[in-house]
Amino acid sequence: MVDLFALIGVWTAAFLTLMVLSFLYKENPFYRLTEYVFVGLSSGYTFAATLRLFVNQALSPIFAGQLEFFVPLILGLLFYAQFTKRYSILYRVPLSLAIGYGLGITIWSVLQAYFLRQIRATMLPLFTGDILTTIGNLVIVIGTILTISYFILHREQKGVYGRFTKAGKYFVLATLGAVFGTTVLGRMALIIQRIQFLLGDAAFPWRALRIGTADEGRFVPIALLAFLIVFGFYMYRKRDVKPEKSTKT
């Protein structure tokens, strides 16, 4: 059975999706409205989350009797000194605590995870029994060295050394090609799911997105039509009488 509330929910979702997609035709107030509503809702939700954390982490230990948590509470409230004129420097006290511990743990973890571990993992045997792994290892060891050499900045990239860094640039380009290729996979996935939703396709993961259930989904195309009518009418009424300036030149 179709639940009326869920149906309204699904229709609203469809209507909003189309309001955003209308940007493809032309930048218009429908689209701008969704932007502002999005920023409003996500900021409101973020505030609720950070408030709940403040209650759990800073207040409840005090209520539970650990009175030494008054100190962190006061230091935390110093953040709001930035809104005062005279004491605005004080907000840097809690900020420097965050900066300090951040720098401390970053130094070793970045050294181990991104420098040491990567160098050790590139120490691969250049000649192994199996031909495929040998080629693979050669590409990784030589490729990594050449890519690093490409980013060495203090020497002119000319002559023999220039040939090395040029080869390094080709590895960087192959990498950027891979990034370009996989980014297409990601972007297509985004639009495919939106079109699945707009067509009310049963294969759309309705419950995993908690929008409603498949049987309300069947009625989404009706919202599609409703929006086209409203949008078409709005565009017709709003079309510029005088031809656009740019077509003249």
Binding site: G40, Y45, L103, Y114, L146, T175, G181, R194
Partner: protein, 238 residues
Amino acid sequence: MKTLTSKEKRKMTKAEIILQIIIFSLGFFYAIVYYVRLPVPVLGTGNLQSAADQLFTYLTAILTGAFAIGIINLTRAHANNVKNRRPIWKYSVILLASMYFMAVASIIASPFSLDPQSTVIPKGVYAVFFSIWQFLYYNVLVSINATLFSLLAFFIASAAYRAFKARSLETSILLAAGLLVIIGQAPISNLIWPGFGTIRDWIMAFPNTAGQRGILIGAALGILAFSVRRLIRYPWGR
């Protein structure tokens, strides 16, 4: 010519020296304790086995104190828009309204509700607000945000035809590698020739790994130098 961006070496003010002492001492403490991993005897009564972990609980308590900074900044910015009737003031009103409405609804009934077991709030009110929050979150917020991001797929499609030209040897390498990866990851290519998939996996596993690792090592060195320099003197800037 001295440009705006190069900062002359001005002397640190007294306040900055104190702040730098805080940053350096906390940073040095964590660098040592965190690396050497010797269990330093416990300060508080908690069952944590090292002072560093115990200190983390206090640090977290301090950092969560800044919970309202975001909402204050947004409110000030958009309240100004409304006050002096900027052209977009109507949108600012909508933004503020939706922000505060969502904040109230989420505080009452959402994964971040302040009273999840509805001890104070009666069950009925909680259920109503929960369905309001659910509608605002899953039907409105997710729909808008996911669609906003999906616009990018269209721009890739139009850029593919109008902008991605093999103008030079460099862009040709990039486009060749890109196209091979695109073909390789489309399941249909496996029916034409399974080799496409292996080519794509090979590009991802070897040349890409080499290039990414080179960039990663370069970035890691940048972060190391950047962090150590800030331990000694943090540029407070503006």
